[in-house]
Assembly symmetry: C3
Homo-oligomer: 643 residues x 3
């Protein structure tokens, strides 16, 4: 009944930490290593921002300090994750390649002085990054202490995927010419006859910024695909260089709700996915939720946001994934930065483990007393004194150590699959049609509705293997091409806004969703302001998006005024034409799950479950204790039972 | 008692549609034409964005497709409105004139990739636009099917009037030197002694953008006048070229609430005014109204916004006007894009006809499956299937056809004249003094107050003929120069903020309004935040703007604390010193109308009237039926009675 | 018990006015002078924007009109304040130095066309400004009518301190190289090892704008210090030039809540400080207060904002200070511009005098009928008619004249000292950590809490003389270096956020506040969103900022959940770890004042006191009369009693 996810090997749960030996006097490294080990930490990530100390001037390498650091850490019993430092090219690099800087949408260069100051399309800098990766691989690729590699750091952080540089323009023209072959094909595909936007040659095509009003959505969509491909190539070039020099797994640490490039594509060239989890920062910064919700979970983070990413990166990592950076206390970068409730660092760690994380690695060992992140707390204070986070990390380490069953978990396929597709994000960013239509939000709210019913969920790419699932959802999926529905007998819910565009972001003909087996056409589309809540006959409301459906189908749910919002064929395929609220989602999902024999439960607000092969975990994100399932889970508490 | 408006000839009410043969396979043109005629459509507008298909490379003309399209449409019985395509210069044009692009306020060029990518001041592009107009005129000027011409498309859409280009700077200096003759005169007129802003020569004058703090308002006002004049010249050059080659009327299609150029001035060179009416898009995008109001009229549009523009363009067209583009269903460009209530497309069409439209032309025949407006609905869906809009258009056509009296209406002079003056908009944009002071809003709220009393209104330019009116209002009119009050014995209401500036946007001396016959001086001006509502002794409140008045006058209305807000001379001339709310307007207007023998009625919210010579029309903008005048008007319904 | 403030000489209270003879026909100067004198005005400020009329072309000086104006004004009995016109370089100056313009954060030049269009770092323009000052000094330095000088006008108005020009970049590198000596020292001090931000040479350092994400806070802090130093040098160069040529006092007129440069530093080179007081404009534009508060004091201005600046500039002027520009009626530059309540112009004048102003000078004599400030009212209307402000000015003059005790006051040291420190403002601007953390606001709310208890307050720079005070507060003081606490036996309250950084904006080691005598360490810092109000055990709430404290201290106040928020040593030194609301401040201050024998009183909302050596003034900022202290103070009224 529960089978292991493809590609997932046996593994041990363990803890890690991020460490910056170059920022501290050499005299404390040994003691730091000792304290890490004492706390139960197994992994230590280093090096990913150290380029200026490894190569202070062009081609003058300084390896000794890193040699020593690896030796000290390794000798203490720690496994090292070594980062390539391409996220922080040193200042002299800009002198070599003044045009390597990314350029913002207004045409301004994004200057040196922080990090990620490079354009992915710049060939010269790509060569430098590969050169550095190769030098590090040559020196440490066979070092026994170096047990994994991280390439670059947080692609896309600080909005760094889209660059309007000259290098990007040159690259985009080349990319287009390879894709379309002739300019006539491009003109036809984009509908450039509209507003006389025809081009005579690829050389005339500029980047889609600073136009008088919005540019052709096909133009923008092509630029979004191109930009994602630049990241894939950038990453692959370093991965290829390292592959020849090491057998240790290659990892990248993605950032929460960064959607400007296709993480699955990058993941294909790596062995393990990881992400950087800052629950409290994300709550205030990256979630469209009510002020009430944000106040309630102020010190705990959203109950679903981390889980969503855990499940997403399990897919990106083809089963293998880590939390590379785990928030340990207040951060410095959100609008407001409160401290976690006591217990939350432990809870977050266990939530990650329950979703299959091999490693949870805290950011960072000791708080820096200087520079941009000096207000970002760590496991130690700047004065080396232990901070709250270390206490909880130590507890997690002890809990793992104390129970063999917890050490080597088996992650099983969930009953529910939810499709998350990066190009769909780009499509609806490009052409929202309703001001607050956001693809991530749509998928995330679907995920939250599933979690609120106690369900474990697998997130999949559009071309993922659908076999074995009982319920499959694909809201907002711009095209259905590659979605292997015919391979499954699951209950399927498409929509809203699924299958209604071509890959070029134009209308398909016939109109979508064009699904063989479900006679249903979207005949009219409306976007609705937040003040409009359309009452449904089942329960709850819909809003924001409303498609009129035409065809020979059975109506499962309607608006109270009689318009079909959930329809099905004579099998189990559904199309949903409205964006449901939480009540409506519950009313839709509960009977469909029951029909598939998927158990659902009514969970109190802020309580969440996650099942592994051997355990059921219960997480209480509330600031007060909650009784559920015959037990009382403390505020910010987690409990687990053997299954 | 009801006389025809000057210049208004007899005409037939008819329907039209906007069509893009270049966007569709030639094989469907014939069938499209047949279906248009079948639906009762008489006019078809084509060509206005087709430059890249008419001249794919410089001087290589391709006429055959347009020849055929005109022939097919004409042969089917349709009259063609042919557009000059100067709103969409092809990409190669930018290679010829890289500096033809407009430049935004921050100094950035507004690039190719959408439309309206030209600066009105650029001499090279103006020549190209005239060349193209002449080529089209030479080929189709005497074509029997081409029954009207449209020049360019929606001047000013996407904020394209003000350009800070080099061409504009050169042009502005020349314009100033011609206006002022010597730099000393300019320095004196602008008060450049203030802050040492004196110039030594016209060559030193830059455009009024990017200054440290706000530039001299006289400087800005001159630039606003200059910018408007550039549009007038641009339009006139094409009009002059076409005049020699055709006898068909020349038209431009203005856009709702675009006020950056003087539409009356452009209209002087044309035969018919038209505007593009998108009631639902405008409601959410271009009206300062409460969320409640916007929610109530979400699917109907504002009850007065279209009527205001109908009455405005009747003046701009010197009596002759069309709706060139009528919303047929959801659009793509507003923040949210719901569908109209059933009946609204018909209602909007009849509202236009009731105000004197000769033609109501729907935008567009068939929804484009690609490019920027692919989500803009049409009379047909992208797959050629009939959409809701066509059904209602067909009904309107049938209603006209069925009743001879409705076919050839007589528009009569209204009892009330309301002055709308573009330079006043620029003046208060330049120097609002209160953050939310907007001239359009002030005039529009005055118009709404009149409509709410059941009144038909004529909108006039400041220099319009005032004879025959019983009530004349001129709120916010920056100067009174040219307002021929002495020609009338009407009741007059000036103010707030009328006659208080010179044409240069300085203070007149003596202080305004300086009206011979009304001894009243504005001695002090205050702007008030939205939280302040000043209770009046008559009824309702005023706010936002409050002038203290001095002089020998009779006080008609006061604040409850005793400050005069409406005063009059011993005749019928009034000055109003506060911005009234709806209740206050009713209390002001009702007795003045009664004294003039103008009938007013109490209308339910959302119900509006409009009188022609032979009919009284009643429009119900509400989403529910309303009983009024002894009948029940359905939701989104219109009724009419013979007078 | 009450001693005079150091440096404060005996003086007379008198009134002044700002006048622009160059803007009016010469024929009215004489009559203007006569009317000023008649109203009781003693001082007249002229010349500060007149460069284009003094030097219409390079080196072509035109002195005659200014000679005459000074003679006419002086002959009428007025003392002249003569301004150097460096705030408004004429247009020809830009032709001489095209790169003298400041550059904004986005890299765009800030063009000619208003005022303050220069970069403080530009050597060429600095020379020109000094040349002009010297020419004026040579001509008028010994003129008996010229009794004071104003240098430039409102440094920093319109955000003009920070410039990202090439001149600034060159200057910054030089400034850094002098400060740090070697690039290695700078790298170490700034922590440039973080994110590989190390520099190889000073030439690589750019200005901290347009970076990908935020730049190193040490980098920004250095740029803020540098930028302040540029203003100090700019001012000093003119002061030095004038010193040789005149014995009259030198003044600058600072602007309310402009904090981008160190006013104390500028003040060291001048004899008198002055500021420009626009209570109603500031209320809407520069205060973070509730809409209710802003509505209540709409026509009066905030009850503490002016007093705060009065007390601040008494310190900046080392005891001598003026109001150089006093709002006389509605201004033109706030979002909304209502008129003051009758009485407020008098009240504001007396509030300034009560705080020690030698001169209160109204802006301006007559309203300009043209240019940017034409809607700014004055003592006369543009048509020379007397406005409300003049009536109240005349009353103030009469009140002074009528009572000898009011003419020559003695300002005494207050019982309470409050530290205001410009670098702390820059530090928390650079690194707010909580989105709404603002240093000025923190100090101002502290000041308001003191005023609400009826206290008179001295504001001091960090290095000010603390002797003689009973209560000393230093909230938000980034470092304690230079704060001479050991010289005092006062009750001291530090915090929140005091002593927690180095001058470089890094963490001190050991962690702050590092106060010998108070064993207290900030072990954790949190910022909290506005929705969080932490209830305290004393009374009221805290929020926004919360520090966890560690050490051997006595807890004076706690949160209701038990966290220490006010602690003390065994003496009278306190550290406060939360941002208190008004109730909490009252609960904190009242017992501490009592213990020090400082009398506090409960004042009605909007009522304020100020004590001089001989009088107690009571100000009623409310729009209705208030009974207090046995008398009824009228709305907008002031009363005083001998002490």
């Amino acid at each position: 009944m529960t089978k292991s996810i493809e590609g997932l090997k046996a593994f041990q749960r363990s803890l890690g930490v991020c460490y910056y030996p170059e920022q501290w006097d050499r005299s404390v490294w040994q003691e730091d290593a000792r304290r890490m080990v004492e706390a139960g930490i197994k992994w230590v990530r280093i090096g990913e921002f150290a380029w200026s100390r490894l190569e202070p001037q062009p081609d003058k390498m300084v390896w000794d300090w890193l040699d020593d650091a690896i030796e000290i850490l390794g000798a203490a019993g720690l496994k090292v994750v070594l980062g390539t430092p391409s996220a922080t090219p040193p200042r002299w690099m800009i002198d070599c390649y003044p045009d390597m800087l990314a350029v913002d949408e207004k045409g301004q260069p994004r200057k040196f002085g922080s990090r990620r100051h490079y354009c992915f399309s710049h060939a010269g800098y790509r060569r430098e990054a590969v050169r550095m990766a190769r030098l590090m691989g040559e020196r440490y690729g066979r070092n026994p202490h170096v047990a994994a590699w991280q390439i670059d750091n947080e692609y896309g952080c600080h909005d760094t995927i889209l660059s309007y540089s000259n290098a990007a323009q040159v690259g985009f023209r080349d990319w287009l010419s390879q894709l379309y072959g002739s300019i006539a094909v491009l003109n036809e595909a984009w509908g450039n006859v509209f507003w006389s936007m025809d081009y005579d040659s690829f050389k005339q095509i500029e980047l889609p910024n600073m136009t008088v009003t919005e540019p052709n959505p096909s133009h923008v969509m092509a630029f979004r695909r191109f930009s994602s491909d630049q990241v894939v190539r950038f990453n692959k070039e370093q991965a290829d260089a390292l592959r020849e020099l090491t057998d240790a797994p290659l990892i990248h640490n993605y950032m929460g709700r960064v959607t400007e490039f296709d993480h699955y594509d990058v993941g294909l060239d790596l062995d393990i996915a990881s992400w950087d989890s800052y629950p409290i920062g994300f709550l205030s910064d990256r979630l469209e939720e009510s002020e009430d919700h944000k106040l309630r979970f102020l010190r705990q983070g959203d109950p679903d946001f981390q889980a969503f990413h855990h499940d997403l990166y399990r897919a990106v990592g083809k089963g293998r994934w880590w939390v590379m950076e785990q928030q340990p206390g207040p951060v410095n970068w959100a609008p407001f930065n409160p401290a976690p409730l006591d217990g939350m660092v432990r809870l977050w760690s266990w939530e990650a483990f329950a979703h299959g994380a091999e490693v949870v690695s805290y950011f960072r060992w000791r708080q820096a007393p200087f520079a941009q992140e000096q207000m970002h707390t760590a496991l130690l204070r700047p004065d080396h004194v232990e901070a709250r986070g270390l206490l909880e990390a130590r507890q997690v380490a002890a809990e793992i150590a104390a129970d063999e069953a917890l050490q080597a978990p088996a992650i099983v396929q969930a009953p529910v699959a939810l499709i998350f597709d990066y190009p769909s994000q780009w499509a609806w960013d490009t052409q929202p049609q309703g001001a607050d239509f956001d693809y991530f939000r749509l998928v995330f709210e679907t995920y939250r509705a599933l979690r609120a019913l106690g369900l474990s969920v697998d997130i999949l790419p559009k071309r993922g293997n659908l076999t074995g699932y009982k319920l499959i959802l694909a809201p907002g999926l711009m095209t259905l091409e590659g979605l292997a529905l015919s391979s499954t007998d699951a209950t399927v819910i498409l929509g809203p806004r699924s299958g209604v565009k071509t890959e070029e972001l134009t209308f398909p003909m016939p109109l979508g969703p064009n699904l063989v087996g479900l006679d249903c056409t979207v005949s009219l589309t409306q976007s609705l302001p937040p003040s409009v809540a359309v009452p449904l006959d089942i329960c709850g409301h819909g809003g924001r998006w409303l498609e009129s459906l035409e065809g020979d189908f059975e109506v499962v749910a309607k608006t109270q005024s009689g318009e079909a919002v959930l329809v099905k064929n004579d099998g189990k395929w559904h199309y949903l034409s409205i964006w449901p609220d939480a009540d409506a989602w519950r009313a839709i999902l509960t009977p469909l799950c029951a029909a598939e024999g998927i158990e659902t439960v009514a969970l109190p607000d802020g309580v969440r479950l996650r099942d592994t092969a051997n355990h059921r975990f219960v997480f209480n994100y509330n600031p007060e204790p909650v009784k559920w399932g015959g037990e009382t889970i403390p505020a910010a508490g987690v409990s687990w039972k053997k299954r």
